[in-house]
């Protein structure tokens, strides 16, 4: 089975009401799955957050592409891209980043916390904006590991 065929199966599953597809041969195994575990499937009133408040709910699904890794906020606070309003951002999209390098500051209760890279790689996306409130475990950066 080639990539084109898999893609076709993915599109197929996406269009139908199926939730899972597995193909397995001696040297090949494919699993496609759709729909999360139960609670999400139950239609309960939606949180009314976004249209009212600056507080963010989890902003994106984590796409498990092998080479992409994320850096998340270890606390609730405010994201700052630079050490001071006049400074250059710690990091921009396309920059090479090194493990241990400071990527941003999250301010919590007037304390400035340096957020450092856990990986060597290239900055692919900055997922938040300067001055934005962030919640626990909210993704701040996407990095392509090198």
């Amino acid at each position: 089975m080639n990539l084109e065929e898999i893609r076709e199966l993915v599109m197929l599953l996406d269009k139908t009401s199926l939730t899972e597809l597995k193909v397995e041969t001696e040297d090949f195994k494919l699993t496609l799955r759709k729909g999360l575990s139960r609670p999400e499937a139950i239609p309960i009133p939606e949180p009314k957050a976004e249209d009212k408040m600056p507080v963010l709910l989890p902003s994106r699904e984590v796409t498990p592409a092998q080479e992409l890794v994320s850096i998340s906020s270890p606390m609730v606070g405010t994201y700052y891209q630079a050490p001071s309003p006049d400074s250059e951002p710690f990091v921009k999209v396309g920059d090479i980043v090194n493990k241990g390098q400071t990527l941003c500051i999250v301010e919590a209760m007037k304390l400035m916390n340096d957020i450092k890279s856990d990986y060597d790689g290239t900055m692919v996306e900055v997922a938040v904006e300067n001055g934005q409130p962030v919640e626990y475990n909210q993704v701040l950066f996407w990095i392509k590991r090198s």
Binding site: E40, I42, M75, V76, G77, M109, P133, Q138
Partner: protein
């Protein structure tokens, strides 16, 4: 026909004029049913409610029902609901003016209350120093004694020499109970009705304690016969007005955990109610108390009462008081925190009928109350007359294993105790919670117990009257 309260402007509805100082946005630093309870109060007052949640609570009802929600940490409470800094940051980030702590977690944490103040957030509860003072059991008892409220007399710490202990016992009066300092839950206790029995019991108790706990320290206390746990609900504003809303009888406990509460108490008559209320108000006044609070007493069979402690937060069992007084305690907390005055005096508080609350836990009573977290595949709460449900469950909810096992409170109101009991039985029988063991069968057993029916419930009820539990 007497008509009451109809004309009283109690609080302004959402389209009406609002009290000048009322908050516009409040963060609820809790989860489960109490978070819903506070969200509901906020919504009824037209205040936006911001929820916080741990990663295990993403699909919780409090997250869905709030106007906004902030993830503050991982599943363990220490990383989320007990994480003061993340909670405060969430409140600041979302533009809240106040934090309601519910009960448990940060509710009686003086440091957290102080942190709120330092960050210009109103802590919905008494000021930090009062929490600190009353949170210390020894200091709390000192305050009570200072204003003439008795506490359970005893050795206050390890019993001294045999002679000292006997002298103390003589001054307290028999019967005396001897407890192992390292014990708990009733283990290693001995009773002495006179001096010679005390001598013997002390020796035996030390030996047993040493063998059982590796620590032979014991202490003595006056033995309270047929002890009932009775507490008084208080409301105090920031202008020195304090009223009480009558008592709750919380004698029905399992291993010191309340299981079922009532208001009023079948044991408390008008005279005792007045004495307890007066005592509770004295303690509150002596500590300059504000907000809702509860003074707990042990009451013996002769209606002597002893101060145990004061809880500086809303209690799990507050709904029984709400049901018989018609007063919304959580809204009162919010209004008091916003600087409003209590709009009424003791003469406006009227106890009408009877209310009982059963705490429904996800625990298996047939298996030593083992917790039973997991998926609730079908949920249908009881309805009909006199029934109130405070619950965080819905069909498809996955009860997480990380927190308290209480998943619902069923509150039944009746014109009298018998009607309240009949309604509670009826309600529990129609309550559907599928695939998760709950304490509903246990409560049905209690409701059918003849001693319970007669109101003969002391704090040892379950061990004494329900041998099969």
């Amino acid at each position: 026909m007497v008509s009451r309260w109809n004309t009283t402007r109690y609080y302004s509805g959402s389209n009406g004029a609002r009290g000048v100082n009322l908050f516009t946005r409040v963060l609820i630093a809790n989860r489960g049913e109490i978070a819903l309870r506070v969200i509901r109060a906020c919504q009824e007052m037209d205040i936006e409610a911001v929820a916080v949640y741990s990663e295990a609570d993403r699909d919780s009802l409090h997250v869905r029902m709030a106007d906004a929600a902030v993830c503050i940490g991982g599943a363990p409470a220490s990383q989320s609901y007990l994480h003061a800094a993340n909670t405060i940051s969430a409140a600041l980030n979302s533009g809240c003016q106040a934090i309601h702590p519910g009960y448990g977690f940060l509710a009686e944490n003086a440091r957290f209350a102080e942190l709120c103040r330092a960050n210009n957030l109103k802590f919905i509860g008494p000021p930090a120093p009062i929490i600190g003072l009353l949170g210390d059991k020894v200091k709390g008892k000192e305050i009570a004694q200072k204003v003439g409220i008795p506490v359970v007399p005893g050795s206050e710490g390890a019993a001294g020499s045999l002679e000292d202990t006997i002298n103390l016992a003589e001054s307290i009066g028999y019967p005396i109970i001897i407890k192992a300092s390292a014990g708990g839950g009733g283990r290693g206790m001995r009773l002495a009705h006179n001096k010679s029995a005390l001598k013997e019991a002390l020796g035996m108790a030390r030996l047993e304690a040493g063998a059982a706990f590796g620590n032979d320290e014991v202490y003595i206390e006056k033995y309270i016969e047929e002890p009932r746990h009775i507490e008084i609900q208080l409301l105090g504003d920031e202008y020195g007005n304090i009223i009480h809303l009558g008592e709750r009888d919380c004698s029905l406990q399992r291993r010191h955990q309340k299981m079922l509460e009532e208001s009023p108490s079948s044991f408390v008559d008008e005279e005792l109610r007045d004495r307890l209320g007066e005592a509770a108000i004295k303690v509150a006044q002596a500590s300059n108390y504000t907000s809702a609070g509860t003074v707990e007493f042990l009451v013996d069979k002769n209606k002597n009462f002893y101060f145990i402690e004061m809880n500086t937060r809303v209690q799990v069992e507050h709904p029984v008081t709400e049901m018989v007084t018609g007063i919304d305690i959580v809204k009162e907390q919010i209004k008091i925190a916003a600087g409003e005055r209590l709009g009424y005096g003791p003469e406006d508080v009227m106890i009408k009928g009877w209310a009982i609350e059963c705490r429904i836990n996800a625990e298996d009573p047939s298996n030593d109350f083992q917790p039973s977290p997991g998926l609730v595949s079908h949920y249908l709460p009881p309805g009909g007359p006199g029934i109130r449900i405070d619950s965080c469950v819905y069909t498809g909810y996955n009860i997480p294993p990380f927190y308290d096992s209480m998943i619902a409170k069923v509150i039944a109101w009746g014109r009298d105790r018998e009607e309240a009991i009949a309604r509670m039985r009826r309600a529990l029988q129609e309550f559907t919670v599928t695939d998760v063991a709950t304490t509903i069968p246990f409560h049905l057993q209690v409701l059918d117990n003849a001693f319970f029916r007669r109101g003969e419930v002391y704090t040892n009820f379950i061990s004494r009257r329900m041998n099969n539990i």
